[in-house]
Symmetry: C2
Subunit: 379 residues, 2 copies
């Protein structure tokens, strides 16, 4: 495998971009969807199923892994790839988002975040240097800076404060990452991404993006979206923020989203996505299909011998009747969650593959219009 | 596939027997272990994993399936094999055991059992004819008669009453099965087994077995064991009951057991087994190995890079570290239950394969002594 991180822009079609990210653990075809492997497992899915479904990269959560089983332990065991038996690229988040949404009694200051574990109440600190160190211990291919993400709506001053703090942390993250590299803790080809904050305020986004671009990160995440604003505001802010970062670097829209969100975000310049939606929905009896979302709990599926999608390459979508899936969901059987999570991740990856093909063919807008009409009220 | 049911006794070694049962859905190598697929799924395991692990036949529960999704529904959908995507043989129990252990407000009389569903409280009746009809609708390869199983210890009169009622039901089951055959509802090659009851009383076992043998079933189950008696009493009763049924018919010891139970039961003439132990233990963080039972919840596994069994052909036992399994179990991740259930079923099938090889080699007793010493306190 290459030991260099690089992004190659292969084609553009309107705002949509086709590309490839090279990492130490392989190529990521963009636009890319990253299934979320919170605790070193994408819930209810085997790693080989992820790969066969077209997954190039998975995301893992620093917050969860630092608390259990611990970053140092995973490092001693050979790193996250080996621990969870996923040989492809891994992106880890910084832990900040989940500290703020899951942990208790947190205190945020310049040093970082002090919080209590949601597992056992123990107290932990997470600063920008430690967040990078943990991710280096995990051995992820893409490391995220610690940032402060403000739920919307929020007062402008609060969003502005989070922008400034995130910029300070970005600089400290980069400095720490460079040091860890010299110490051999970060390895060649690992890349640190900066995160643009600023809510839905163009001026704050400009301030954030400008300062990060001056620091010259190998990739830029667009954070602070999908946190309470409207869909239109999200897409508008994405579009203007994407234009503020260099075309030659990948853009990662964090925490998004529905199939239609992804299509519209790709149309507006996003290259990478992560979301728990396919797996969480799968555990709750919902399936994503080209004809929209299907609720398998619904009694109308009880006698339906048809699979979710007879044309799918994914066995979970192609080979099992809706009647059986309905039964498994009603009986709360493991296999229901297993099959629907698998089918949903496969659908998301088929959606990304179709987007990549449409961009390559120069017909992304027409493709998007057709597909959005089929997806219907799925959003 | 053959449309005839048959049993071929290939070798004996002391009380242990090596054989093959031919069914419409393929061959069952005996001694055979049947994983339990209660609600038309062996919990947390894909059907192809079961087959690759060496499973020839699975058991499904009539009680659960009659209540949800319903036997007529499964028949309309093409039968249980197609519904659950298991192409090998299936044995269904009669439903009686679970009516008596799971349902509420039951009434037992000559007609059968009246009970309330543990799912929604609805009232149902299950008599010997309906129990056979349901199993024919499901399309199982081996159909079990409805019987009455008494938990031990119990008064002799109660056990004797259950023997007589079970014999009446056996005769009615056989008559119903013959009628369904003439009607085409039971298909060629489907086989109905009788169930010997009688607690741990030799005289009652003799009464039960004698009457059933006179009815000439293609196979005999030994029921009413593993329900409260000692291990020694179970094995002793098994041995004497096995001697009461024809050598040319398979003997199915119901609801047993631990690895050591299986070894001792094979030594005493049993050919078939079912038990939830490998899957239930897997969901509770316990693994079966050749060195005994391993509790993955235990902190001593937290840093252990070794797999459960580096020599296993099962990926779940061979490819994942105990540290990772420990983490998954502690984090209550689906994948923990998935991997341990899979590894445990694979271990049980490896145990059966080893027993078959030892019988074929004429060294079952020596093999059993060695293996029981290794398994240690697993029981």
């Amino acid at each position: 495998m290459s030991s260099e991180f690089s992004f190659t822009l292969l084609a553009t079609d309107g705002g949509a971009r086709l590309g490839e990210i090279a990492t130490p653990h392989g190529i990521i075809r963009t636009p890319a969807f990253m299934p979320v492997g919170t605790a070193a497992t994408v819930k209810a899915i085997y790693a080989d199923q992820l790969a066969a479904a077209g997954t190039d990269i998975v995301l893992a959560n620093t917050y969860h892994l630092m608390l259990r089983p611990g970053a140092e332990r995973i490092a001693r065991l050979g790193g996250l790839h080996s621990f969870m038996r996923w040989s492809g690229p891994i992106l880890t988040d910084s832990g900040g988002f989940q500290v703020m949404s899951l942990a208790k009694l947190r205190k945020i200051d310049e040093a970082g975040v002090t919080f209590q574990s949601h597992i056992d109440g123990s107290t932990h600190q997470l600063g920008p240097e430690r967040a990078v160190e943990i991710q280096c211990l995990l051995g992820s291919d893409i490391v995220m800076q610690l940032d402060e993400c403000v739920a919307l709506p929020a007062a402008r001053a609060e969003v502005a404060g989070a922008v400034e703090r995130s910029l300070v942390w970005a600089e400290r993250s980069r400095r720490a990452f460079d040091e860890y590299r010299q110490l051999g803790l970060a390895r060649p080809g690992q890349a640190l991404f900066g995160i643009v904050q600023g809510g839905i305020e163009p001026e704050l986004r400009r301030r954030s993006a400008g300062a990060l671009v001056a620091m010259d990160f190998p990739g830029y995440a667009i954070g602070g979206l999908a946190v309470g604003e409207t869909h239109a505001a999200m897409i508008e802010t994405l579009a203007l923020t994407a234009a503020m970062v260099p075309a030659g670097k990948p853009r990662y829209l964090m925490g998004v989203g529905t199939p239609v969100d992804l299509i519209e975000a790709v149309a507006n310049g996003a290259d990478m996505f992560d979301c728990v939606m396919p797996t969480r929905s799968g555990r709750h009896g919902q399936a994503f299909t080209w004809a929209g979302k299907v609720n398998l709990k619904n009694a109308r599926h009880a006698d339906d011998p048809a699979p979710l999608d007879p044309l799918s390459a994914c066995p979970a979508a192609r080979d099992y009747s809706r009647a059986y899936l309905h039964h498994l969901v009603k009986a709360e059987e493991f296999l229901g969650a297993m099959l629907l999570s698998w089918a949903n991740v496969a659908f998301y990856q088929q959606l990304m593959a179709a987007m990549r093909a449409a961009i390559a063919a120069g017909r992304f807008a027409a493709w998007a219009a057709e597909v959005k009409a089929c997806l219907g009220p799925t959003k």
